[in-house]
């Protein structure tokens, strides 16, 4: 096979130590000695030197020139991969079988004071690359078929996030199974009245989402708990307890949308002791009843004081729960419109309403007459009253004075905290949890995907989120899960590109041309000994019952551990097989 070498002098910085003509002669002599004077022609006839291979015009011109001369493979020698090598390789590898050799950082620049040694080393490096090209060309060039099983996605939780996710998955043609622990779907939506910004009620939104999900053909399992999910080679195994009793099923991917739990202000602010001290959820229910006509508006509090950050941002729940301020303002607006004769004051430490819609909500609240007072958290506010609540005493943060606001209701805004069952599921999946107990995804690169392949997390299980955010995240997780199920972004490309590719490029730009094939196992050479499956760090190698070992292309990250332990070479990385490495080693050491 005719090969060509594109040699970059890097504007003289490489050629100062490695003059191109001396290198060409050394290479020629090396190849001639390998093939003998009487033997076949040296397999490298083109040696094209240019001064800046990273410039597109130069690399295009060089490539066209060597391809026109009949070369079928190209070895480009220049700087290191992380400098300009990767980008140049992306271009070259798109047209022909190509290999990159670093002769700058790896040779010219570290051996400036040993030019003879550097020349010998550079000749070795080029020979290694040429031998690797020869070996890589010997295997089939077409990309192997994407080998991964196509099964189902398990969505755990039938709240807004889970419903949005299952509906989106169904619309994308991915088979989804939705498990909900209660008899009715909808999660928190069933308890919420009007939702911002659409101002439809929670049950109405739930009905919409459920209709979508049922219409699209998602398999819905109500009254089903998931008592354990764990990664197994080839996917995930879940134990479902539903109407058929305990059932074990295999899934390809899992979406954790199991939600979070609202904290009740027990033991705080005389909740349960004084009538009129309510939780936000209780107020939500009252407002809902009035809005649907079941209750009189006059039953609502006239002078309501909303207290924010109750049981939040303290030692027990040391975080801002993100949904309480929007919920308070939304309920304050509703209360103002239902009881225009009364007053609503929100007593807060800070108001957290980031983003376009929540900013609009804030302005709407203040425009409708909701009063806002900020209190100094150093002094804990106090509910005053004997049997009924009569007021709230707090220290005003602006003027530093102790103030008493008369009130016939004090509404405590409490945070969402992780559900113990969610934590257990996260634990069995091997997900990390942060200090607050919520399962971690790989922010910011992969906001809904934790580190294991095929696991996705959305909604309040991930972090307290408003209903709108739950819907967005649910759809994001569905998009990611669908892409995963189809192997998009995983190792599925062909092996013509450089074997060693910076991984971050590949993750951040999944439609990059340089996608590499996953490891594969040759069934004829495989003895099913299982060494590869035992050492695979991703659980990508698995053993189907009736065949040899297989590799799930979606989980494979091409680390090469399987190839390192396989005694026969059945497991290999296409493009950088043991044979290719063997050829490199031989060229590196044989002279």
């Amino acid at each position: 096979m005719k090969k060509a070498v594109l040699f970059c002098t890097c504007c003289g910085t490489i050629s100062a130590t490695l003059p191109p003509d001396r290198l060409r002669d050394a290479l020629g002599a090396r190849l001639l000695s390998a093939y003998g004077k009487e033997g076949p022609q040296p397999a490298c006839e083109e040696f094209y030197a240019c001064s800046m291979l990273c410039r597109r015009e130069e690399s295009e011109a060089a490539l066209n020139s060597v391809l026109a001369s009949g070369a079928e493979a190209v070895l480009a020698a220049g700087c290191s991969l992380s400098a300009r090598g990767f980008e140049t390789m992306k271009f070259l590898g798109g047209s022909t079988l190509a290999e990159w050799a670093d002769i700058r950082e790896a040779c010219a620049w570290i051996h400036e004071d040993a030019p003879d040694g550097a020349l010998r080393k550079a000749a070795d490096i080029l020979c290694m690359g040429l031998a690797a090209l020869e070996r890589r060309a010997a295997v089939a060039e077409k990309p192997p078929p994407c080998d991964f099983p196509t099964g189902e996605v398990l969505v755990i939780g039938g709240g807004p996030a889970g419903l949005a996710c299952a509906g989106a998955l169904g619309k994308m043609g991915v088979r989804a199974v939705l498990a909900e622990r209660r008899a009715a779907l909808g999660g928190m939506l069933t308890q919420l009245g009007l939702l911002f910004p659409r101002f439809i009620s929670g049950p109405e939104l739930a009905e919409e989402l459920i209709r979508d999900v049922k219409h699209i053909g998602v398999q819905v399992l109500p009254k089903t708990t998931v008592s354990g999910v764990q990664p197994v080679p080839g996917g995930y195994r879940a134990v479902l307890n539903g109407k058929n009793g305990e059932e074990e099923r295999r899934f390809d991917a899992v979406v954790l949308a199991a939600g979070a739990l609202p904290v009740l202000p027990r033991g705080l602010y005389r909740y349960g002791e004084l009538t009129g001290v309510l939780s936000q959820l209780e107020l939500e229910t009252s407002l809902g009843r009035v809005e649907s006509g079941q209750k009189e508006a006059l039953a609502l509090p006239r002078q309501a004081v909303f207290l924010q950050c109750v049981a939040a941002r303290d030692e027990n729940n040391p975080y801002c729960s993100a949904v309480c301020c929007p919920t308070s303002l939304k309920n304050a607006i509703r209360l103002r419109s239902l009881r225009p004769d009364g007053s609503v004051t929100v007593v807060h430490r800070n108001i957290a309403t980031p983003g376009k819609h929540l900013e609009a909500l804030y302005r709407r609240a203040t425009a409708s007459g909701v009063l806002l007072r900020s209190h100094d958290p150093a002094v804990t506010p106090e509910c005053l009253g004997t049997e009924r609540v009569e007021g709230l005493r707090f220290r005003d943060a602006l003027n530093g004075e102790d103030t008493v606001l008369p009130a016939d209701a004090v509404v405590c805004s409490t945070p969402l905290k992780p559900l113990p069952d969610t934590l257990k599921l996260a634990g069995s999946l091997g997900l990390r949890t942060d200090g607050m107990g919520f399962a971690c995804a790989r922010e910011p690169v992969q906001p809904v995907s934790p580190s294991g392949a095929g696991i996705f997390i959305c909604g309040a299980a991930r972090w307290p989120a408003t209903v709108e955010h739950c819907l967005e995240q649910g759809r994001a997780a569905a998009a990611k899960a669908a892409a995963y199920m189809r192997g998009i972004g995983s190792c599925s490309g062909d092996s013509r590109c450089l074997p060693v590719v910076p991984q971050t490029f590949w993750e951040l730009m999944p439609d990059s041309a340089c996608r590499l094939p996953s490891a594969e196992v040759n069934g004829e050479k495989c003895s099913r000994c299982g060494r590869c499956a035992a050492v695979c760090p991703y659980g990508a190698c698995f053993l189907p019952e009736d065949a040899g070992m297989r590799v799930d292309a979606r989980k494979c990250a091409r680390c090469g551990s399987c190839a390192a332990v396989c005694p026969t070479g059945a497991a290999s990385l296409p493009g950088e097989t043991v044979a290719v490495l063997r050829a490199r080693i031989k060229e590196a050491l044989s002279r």
């Binding site: 790896a106 080393k121 290694m128 060693v500 332990v565 050491l589």
Partner: protein, 151 residues
């Protein structure tokens, strides 16, 4: 002319290779006798290839990977460590000098660290150049021994 004492260095392309590239950018001087092969992960280095490298003419083989806890591939370096320890035991059992196989899990992507580690390794290999384990390493046998085997 000094005969070269070639060594083969497998460098994982996450930490050690970045160190190597930085050493290049800082123009640190290194002995030219080593041949570097970048690997996706140090866990991809097959002990069989290391044995083959010794037989082919390497005076020493180094495997450089990321520190424990820092492997991008979910700790594949730990499995690699177990394998390479076994390889080291095998070489030691037949009398190959242990310094010939150098495994480093401590490299971060720092230029001077890479240069220092590699230079030290080359120096240790140079000190072994006249050792008696070389014939076994290469498979160089007494000439004519096979005459006794022929019928």
């Amino acid at each position: 002319m000094n005969p070269s004492l070639k060594t083969l260095v497998f460098a994982c392309r996450w930490c050690p290779l970045l160190g190597a590239e930085r050493a290049g950018r800082e123009r640190l001087a290194l002995p030219p006798d080593f041949r570097l092969i970048p690997m996706e992960c140090a866990g991809a280095v097959s002990p069989d290839l290391i044995l083959r490298a010794f037989a082919d003419g390497a005076h020493g083989v180094a495997v450089m990977g990321c520190h424990f806890g820092g492997c991008r591939h979910n700790g594949a370096n730990r499995s690699a460590h177990t394998r390479l320890q076994l390889l080291s035991a095998a070489l030691e059992a037949v009398g190959i000098r242990p310094a010939r196989l150098f495994v480093s899990w401590g490299t971060a992507h720092e230029a001077r660290q890479f240069a220092g580690v590699l230079s030290d390794f080359q120096a240790r290999i140079r000190a072994l150049r006249k050792e008696k384990d070389l014939p076994l390493l290469r498979g160089n046998f007494t000439p004519g021994h096979d005459r006794e085997m022929r019928p």
